[in-house]
């Protein structure tokens, strides 16, 4: 009886802790605090921007995500049929929600992100701006080019902010980021248990919090959460273990809805989750960083020589499903996402032995319809 009570307490504490962290993402309060303390805040527009570089030069890297529910200002500047990620980000920018930013760093990872960088720079004049050119091939010459490109980025950053880059500091930042990744890996393994100790909703909240705060600060929270989670009881009352597939998805409400209806999200291949943290940097130099960001992440558009990136992505999903023992896939297909638009049919073809539900997403979400579809899916396969 007492043990149960303690466990419930642990669970409540865990939830409160995670919600408090998530609140940093919703309010961006820590970012403003850093700014007040003289830190430069630099937004990244892609999960493959090597944040370690920005961090090593004393600035705060933020994976920028918009929170706007409606996008009327953005619709006057960019097409209305673009993905939710780009519309919300542009909307928050135009509403001056990102007034704490000192610069933005984009990447040529897809057309939307490339042109979002251009549109954001054109309309919002963010101070510092840099677009990192990412090769789509993971061969030797491309890794060498990417290293030089990162060097070029460093030089522009140094010159704009009158700061100095040092390999020693980069090494320290890499260590911090690797520690952050290790902790998330530990936490992730707890999602794979028969009774997962972290729900998909909790997981996504933690990941989103990680985009809006310094990683060294987050690490302390993560260690604490890990301890609490380790001691707590897992979730038993679910019917289906779900792998969530998609790109720049970050709507906690949708994940909560899936889990309220009997699913539990145990793994994913989202740009805002697995794509953001998986893959440690195997050294302390820019070259190591170039190798990590070009070869190890879940970037959906780069491929090994003579390979296709879609094959790498399918393997990535397969690995995640193998580890987590997910027995269903929910494919989050943002109607405006070019990657979803091209790759979804291949994911469906590849995983014919696993029940898959495709959720076509566009705002405003047709919540009741989505609920009905998820409910029927869980009932059918749970």
């Amino acid at each position: 009886m007492l043990a149960k009570k303690v466990d419930r307490m642990e669970k409540i504490e865990k939830v409160e802790k995670i919600d408090a962290l998530y609140n940093f993402f919703l309010t961006r309060s820590l970012l403003r605090k850093y700014k007040e303390n003289g830190k430069k805040i630099i937004a990244s527009l892609c999960n493959n921007v090597p944040e370690e570089i920005i961090h090593s030069m004393g600035a705060v890297p933020v994976r920028l995500l918009g929170l706007a529910k409606s996008t009327e200002l953005a619709s006057a500047k960019i097409p209305t049929w673009l993905c939710l990620y780009s519309k919300r980000l542009m909307e928050d920018g135009l509403r001056r929600e990102f007034d704490f930013l000192d610069g933005i760093v984009g990447m040529t990872s897809d057309d939307t992100k490339t042109h979002l960088f251009s549109a954001y720079s054109f309309y919002l004049k963010p101070g510092f701006s840099y677009l990192i050119q990412i090769p789509y091939v993971r061969d030797k010459s491309s890794i060498e080019f990417f290293e030089k490109e990162l060097k070029r980025f460093v030089e522009k950053f140094e010159s704009f902010f009158n700061t100095e880059f040092s390999e020693e500091k980069l090494g320290e930042s890499i260590e911090i980021y690797n520690r952050f990744r290790d902790l998330l890996n530990d936490l992730s393994r707890l999602r794979w248990e028969d009774e997962p100790k972290v729900s998909g909703e909790e997981w996504l909240k933690i990941l989103l919090a990680s985009t809006s705060m310094l990683k060294e600060e987050l690490i302390e929270h993560l260690e604490d959460i890990l301890e609490k989670v380790n001691d707590s009881e897992g979730y038993k009352d679910y019917k289906l273990r779900i792998h969530l597939s998609g790109t720049d998805f970050y709507d906690v409400e949708i994940v909560k809805m899936i889990e309220d209806l009997g699913g539990i999200v145990v793994s994913d291949d989202l740009c805002t989750s697995s794509g953001y943290y998986i893959g440690n940097v195997g050294g302390r130099t820019l070259r190591d960083l170039a190798r990590r960001y070009l070869t190890q992440s879940a970037c959906v558009l780069t491929a090994r020589l003579e390979h296709l990136s879609i094959e790498d992505r399918l393997n990535f999903i397969m690995e995640r499903i193998g580890e987590s023992r997910a027995n269903a896939i929910v494919l989050l297909k943002d109607r405006g996402c070019e990657i979803c638009g091209h790759q979804c049919p291949f994911i469906l073809q590849e995983f014919t032995d696993i029940p898959t539900l495709v959720l076509d997403l566009d705002t405003p979400y047709p919540t009741e319809q989505l609920k009905t579809r998820v409910e029927a899916f869980v009932e059918s396969y749970g």
Binding site: A76, E149, I310
Partner: protein, 412 residues
């Protein structure tokens, strides 16, 4: 509104002759068993002639389907297979041809033996080549040119694509990838690179590119000498057959024709009332929209889409030339529009007709910044029409005509 007599340059016969020769070459090479490659706009088209391969162009084929009326069924076929709604029309039409060939306009594109993926315009080319390569199980070669930013590229002349300065790192990497492309071509075509042929194809390309640039310049004369109905198709030459003898033949004749017109001060319509700039991929299903505007007295001396397709090839610097092909304003950040504005200023314009191609993130995302820049820099108003290049359902021609009429009325 009163319609004037329409007097085009007469390029129609030149195009007919060009296509005939291009198709004859294709047939002959197919009979010889030469490999088929799929290529996309802004690729180095010279390699097609250096290595004697059969080229097929999903973009051009899709435009053909749009003009012939089959693209709608093909787009629907691709969506029903699970591909996204808001993707490039060219991609959806091509996937439709692969999935449901019975609905596609004949002749179908020949099946590819290899595919060349050049991101010189959009990542969508990279994304779609992945899909095609996987569907056919064929080798693919990827070059991604930089997306040019103002710290890497100075002022760029809009027609020649000669930049004031350029970041060496990007040039070097792109050239290394182009050299890799030549090795790839040697492998898939099983013939070694001939230096002599390489030189001669690039010399042809240089001559043709010079003439095409002259045609674009002459189009800015007063009165506007030609119609966009015929000028818009110049992208076929610039994108796909540059380096061929038949493209050079076309350019020589086309140049003489437009030069004569300008000399005689003869316009596409007797009374030019407004001079408009246009941009966006042409709505291939409804090209008569241009003819209609011209008959209303609104001519188009500047087509930024055509201008983007041009570059001055320097046969003495073939690799640099291939990279310069990517230095168009649609592959650059929006602060690199100076060249475009300067050219527009020279053309003495009254307004702009801009086409937002649904599904094409490049043209559609650049439209509003372009409209804002034209307004700020030159005081030009713009009409933005949502016009996917292969799907007439979103831009019914009659509705577009009404919108254009209202816009022209407002210019008065």
């Amino acid at each position: 509104m009163e319609l004037q007599e329409w007097n085009p340059l007469g390029y129609k016969n030149l195009y007919r002759d060009l296509f005939k020769k291009h198709l004859a070459r294709q047939d002959s090479l197919l009979k010889q068993g030469r490999p088929v490659g799929w290529f996309f706009s802004f690729h180095p088209s010279e390699i097609i002639y250096i290595f004697d391969v059969v080229p097929a162009y999903p973009e051009q084929y899709s435009a053909y389907c749009a003009a012939r009326g089959s693209s709608v069924d093909l787009i629907d076929a691709s969506i029903s297979k699970g591909y996204g709604h808001f993707l490039c029309d060219y991609f959806k039409t091509t996937v439709g041809m692969i999935e449901e060939p019975e609905k596609a306009t004949k002749p179908l594109m020949p099946k590819p033996d290899f595919i060349v993926d050049t991101r010189a315009l959009c990542v969508a080319h990279h994304e779609m080549t992945e899909v095609f390569a996987r569907k056919y199980g064929i080798p693919k070669y990827t070059i991604n040119y930089p997306f040019w930013t103002s710290d890497a590229l100075g002022y760029v002349d809009e027609l020649t694509k000669i930049p004031e300065m350029v970041e060496e790192l990007y040039i070097e990497y792109s050239i290394s990838k182009l050299k890799g492309l030549l090795e790839f071509m040697e492998k898939v075509t099983k013939i070694p690179l001939s230096d002599e042929k390489f030189k001669s194809v690039f010399e042809t390309s240089e001559k043709t590119s010079k003439l095409l640039i002259e045609v674009a310049k002459l189009m800015m004369s007063k009165p506007t000498p030609g119609s966009q109905r015929e000028i818009a198709d110049l992208v076929f030459l610039a994108f796909f057959v540059l380096g061929s003898n038949y493209a050079l033949e076309f350019a020589e004749k086309g140049y003489e024709m437009i030069k004569g017109r300008v000399k005689r001060k003869e316009g596409v319509v007797p009374e030019e009332k407004f001079r408009l700039l246009t941009f966006g991929i042409m709505p291939w299903h409804s090209l008569s929209l241009y003819e209609y505007c011209e008959m209303l007295g609104a001519t188009f001396p500047v087509n930024l889409y055509v201008n983007a397709s041009l570059h001055l090839c320097d046969s003495k610097k073939p690799f640099e030339s291939m990279v310069r092909r990517s230095m168009h304003f649609t592959n650059s950040t929006y602060d690199l529009m100076d060249g475009v504005i300067e050219n527009a200023r020279k053309a003495d314009l009254d307004g702009a007709l801009l086409l937002e191609n649904t599904g094409c993130r490049i043209t559609s995302m650049i439209i509003r910044p372009l409209a804002d820049t034209l307004q700020e820099e030159l005081g030009l108003p713009s009409l933005i029409l949502e016009a996917p290049q292969c799907d007439p359902r979103i831009m019914p021609l009659e509705r577009a005509k009404t919108q254009v009429e209202a816009f022209i009325e407002s210019l008065k």
